[in-house]
């Protein structure tokens, strides 16, 4: 039972952060596309802004890995 709960915690850690990243990137992506259409010189800034939410899912992945390593 304990193993199941640990696996569930790991799944939540990666799953929820992935959803949050996807949502944030979809909004930043569409807003960025709008900005780029008018100001193409801002492409560098837009790429950085788009990459920022990626940290959430990376941290989620790290946390999930740490949780799973606890099983052993």
């Amino acid at each position: 039972m304990e193993k199941v709960l640990i696996a569930l915690a790991a799944a939540l850690a990666i799953g929820l952060t992935a959803i949050a990243t996807a949502w944030a990137q979809s909004r930043i992506g569409s807003a960025g596309a709008g900005t780029l259409a008018e100001k193409p010189e801002l492409s560098g800034t837009i790429i950085i802004l788009l990459a920022i939410p990626e940290t959430m899912v990376i941290l989620g992945f790290v946390v999930a890995t740490m949780i799973l390593l606890m099983i052993k």
Binding site: S30, A31, K39
Partner: protein, 278 residues
């Protein structure tokens, strides 16, 4: 008959358009210009059409009443140019969002058929628009313009709207009512002005000001509404500034439709300024 042309929804996300319009607001200033009233209005319609095409279905539903309100002026200009200036009508309607059927009627030679078509198109919104032909016969083009605009505004304010759009129309109604009272007093007219219901200023108050022929009452009212010191010659300008200020405030929220509304209004104000210079 439909009022608007059916334009395919390209499915662009709302954030895309908000962001694009925000950039556009900063990049372009005083870009509504032209040599004639037709050219200036055409430039405005071009911008409005471009924004309408970029909108998704949800945004189009929110803004439809706004676009129809400004297309009313296109219709009135076409009707005015019916006395032989057909090339101007064609030029005006090029970027218009009006349906092809309506455009065809407006380009035709018969003014009564055109007014009948406009009446039929607006009857699809509400049956309050009945009797436009009779109004034209009785009061002429000016009477028709006033009647159609007033009924449209009343019908719009009674319908379900986004709160920012509703507030915008409330400001428009206030402006129309106050300017109507001012003109009636200034031109010493005896009939009551035809007020549009739904504004934030009560009709009874406007009637009282009119009965007393009280120009200072109007300036006090405008000062109270706008917070700007106003003299009688500056009423219209102060009321325009009031709407502009409200929309600037609405546009501060980057995720709100206020950004688009503010841009559309800014284009309209530029149009008025360009027409005055012309």
């Amino acid at each position: 008959m439909e009022i608007f042309e059916r334009i395919e929804d390209r499915g662009y996300p709302t954030d895309y358009l908000l962001s694009r319009v925000r950039s556009r607001r900063m990049l372009y200033r005083n870009f509504i210009a032209g040599e004639s009233p037709v050219e200036i209005w055409r430039r405005l319609l071009k911008e409005y059409r471009w924004i309408y095409i970029q909108m998704n279905e949800t945004l189009r539903n929110i803004f439809q009443r706004f676009f129809i309100y400004f297309e009313l002026r296109t219709i009135f200009m076409c009707l005015r140019y019916k006395k032989g200036e057909y090339e101007k009508i064609e030029e005006l309607l090029y970027f218009s969002l009006l349906s092809d059927d309506l455009k065809e009627l407006l380009m035709g030679s018969d003014i009564m058929t055109a007014i009948g078509g406009v009446g039929d198109a607006f009857l699809s919104i509400s049956d309050r628009f009945v009797g436009l032909k009779e109004t034209f016969i009785k009061d002429g083009l000016r009477g028709l313009e006033q009647e159609l605009t007033n009924v449209y505004l009343e019908n719009t304010i009674d319908s379900k709207l986004h709160h920012t759009i509703k507030d915008f129309f409330r400001y428009i109604i206030d402006s129309r009512n106050i300017i109507a009272v001012y003109k009636h007093i200034r031109w010493q007219m005896h009939d009551y002005p035809s007020f549009v219901n739904g504004g934030s200023v009560r009709e009874a108050r406007l009637r009282r000001i009119f009965e007393r022929r009280d120009i200072s009452g109007i300036t006090t009212l405008v000062q109270k509404l706008t917070g700007i010191m106003t003299d009688a010659g500056n009423i219209e300008n102060s009321l325009l500034k009031r709407t502009t200020r409200f929309l600037r405030k609405a546009a501060r929220d980057p995720l709100c439709i206020g950004v688009i509304l503010d841009h559309l209004w800014k284009c309209y104000v530029e149009t008025i300024e360009a027409e005055m210079i012309h």
